[in-house]
Structures are given as C-alpha cells and as structure tokens.
C-alpha cells in the first residue's frame, strides 16, 4: 500500500521536475519548485522520516522558495530568454548515459524496505537498541543528531555561518563593479 502511494508521489515528482525544466516564466517556476519540495516532504512521511519531512517542508518549501522569489524580484527579470540556436543534445546524451549507468549501478542494491540489508544491521541497529538508554531521548533521530554525531551538527552550523557571511559580503559591498557591454542600460 505504501509502495503505491510512493509510486504515485514519485510520478508527480517526475512531472513537476519536467515542468520546472520546461516553463519559461520564472515566477511560475518558483511556485512549481515550491510544489516539488512539498511533494518531497510528503514522500519523506511515507518513507517513515517525519523529522526530515518537517525540515524539508520548512527549509526546502519555505525558505528556498522565498529566496528564489526574492532573487527573481531583485533581478527584475522574470522571463527566460528563448534560445533557439543552442544545441542541448550533448547535455541530453550525458544525462541519459549517466541515468542508465546509475540504474545499472543500483541493480544489486538491497530492495526497498529489506530489513536484512547491511545498512540496517550494523551501526544503526546499535543506535536503535541502546539509543534511548544512552541519551535519554526517545526520538532516535534527535539522539543521533545531537549526541552520537554532534560534531557533524557543529560542522553544519559552521557551513551555515560561512554561507551567511558570504551572502552578507556579496550583497553589502558598497562599490559595484560593472562590465560595460553593448546593452544601452549597462553601466
């Protein structure tokens, strides 16, 4: 039953990704991208990952879409230029080849939900067995995030801080170098 929901949601996801690829209006693309993230959050719930679903719904659907809208608003350019002369067959070929290679690569991976898969029998089994006793947190995701892999989370905070500093430095620079071009309003 959950597999059926899974497949329906994933098909919607493929359609949404193709819609993002094809649509020319960037504002509409931002909305479609928000829908895409929401579908991903729904899939996480079906895959028994409510914590990841919360994060995706808040960060992916919310913040990402808002950032995209802010960018589109501040570049004042909501239409993609049609490029008739551009040849994208090499990109298509590369994508197809890589897709086929990946599908070949996962052919002997453990089937979806197989409880005997190596991924479930090693370190994760220990987390599930003694996670609550050792950390006192019933939510094992929180236990692993904050206790067993606390340094990972510290590293994540470092990355977010660096990204924030980078954005501030990029956007708050007072002198704005311009490249003079053929466009009449450039510079």
């Amino acid at each position: 039953m959950s597999l059926l929901v899974n497949i329906v949601l994933l098909s919607f996801l493929v359609i949404m990704a193709i819609a993002v690829l094809r649509i020319k209006n960037l504002l509409a693309m931002a909305m479609l991208f928000g829908l895409y993230s929401l579908l991903v959050a729904g899939l996480f719930v079906v895959l028994d990952a409510p914590d990841v679903a919360f994060t995706e719904a808040a960060v992916g659907t919310g913040i990402s879409t808002v950032l995209m809208l802010v960018t589109i608003a501040s570049v004042r350019d909501s239409h993609e230029v049609e490029n008739k002369g551009r040849n994208s067959s090499l990109a298509l070929l590369l994508s197809v080849v890589m897709g086929v290679a990946l599908m070949y690569g996962i052919h002997d991976i453990a089937e979806l939900g197989d409880p005997t898969a190596p991924a479930h029998t090693q370190v994760a089994a220990r987390f599930i067995e003694s996670g609550q006793a050792e950390t006192g947190v019933p939510n094992l995701v929180t236990a692993v995030l904050a206790s067993y892999r606390g340094f990972d989370t510290l590293g994540e905070v470092t990355v977010v801080l660096t990204a924030g500093l980078g954005i501030l430095l990029l956007l708050l620079r007072s002198e704005k170098p311009r490249v003079k071009g053929k466009k009449k309003d450039a510079g």
């Binding site: 995706e56 990109a91 704005k176």
Partner: protein, 119 residues
C-alpha cells in the same frame, strides 16, 4: 522479476528525477533556472538516501511501547544536515546571481560570455 521491479522502481523513479535536474542544470542558460535544477538534483539524492533507510513494516524511529521495528535513523540524520547545508549553499548561489545581474545586467549565461569576450 516482478519482485525485482517492485523492489527497485522507487530507485529508478528517483534517478529519473535526478537526471531531469541534471539536464536542467546543463542545458538552460538562465542562472536562476540552473540553480533550480541543482536543487532538484540535490533533493533527489537526499530522497535516495532516505529511501535506503526505509524498513518494511517499520515505523518512524521514535522509541515507543508496542513497536519494535524502526526505520534506520542514520540516513535521516545525515540528510537533515544535507538539506540545511544545501539551502545555505543555494542561498550563496542566489546572492551571486544578484551580483552578476548588477555587474552584467543579464542573468543569461551566453550573454555574459559574449560581454566577457568583448571586454
């Protein structure tokens, strides 16, 4: 054969989404759309990892009475980190797009290349 398809169709569809994202990234010249393609690629990878942690008849990894089978918490934790880091790096990308627009007055990659060739 049927079991093989049922066990793998999830992964195949995720790979299809991933490749649509990669094609968007490579074939479009608009930078905002490129970043959207990159984000799609990234969420597909995250989805792949989380689906590796799914256990049949399992429940969300929150310890409670009456449940003994839980999904694997480890991929979920790693992907929580990846989502936040991914949005942070995408935000840097958007800031760069805004600066490129200020400097070149366009966000189309081939127009920027033309301007660079002239100067």
């Amino acid at each position: 054969m049927m079991d093989y398809i049922i066990g793998h169709i999830n992964y195949w569809l995720i790979i299809a989404v991933m490749m649509v994202g990669m094609f968007t990234l490579m074939s479009r010249t608009n930078m905002i759309k490129k970043l959207a393609g990159l984000s799609i690629f990234q969420t597909a990878v995250i989805l792949f990892y989380v689906s590796l942690g799914k256990v049949e008849d399992g429940t969300a990894p929150i310890v409670a009475e009456g449940f003994s089978t839980y999904s694997n918490p480890l991929p979920q934790v790693l992907m929580l980190t990846a989502i936040v880091v991914g949005v942070a790096t995408t935000a840097v990308g958007f800031a760069l797009v805004i600066r490129i627009k200020e400097a070149y007055n366009t966000i189309e990659e081939d127009e920027i290349r033309e301007l660079d060739a002239k100067s």
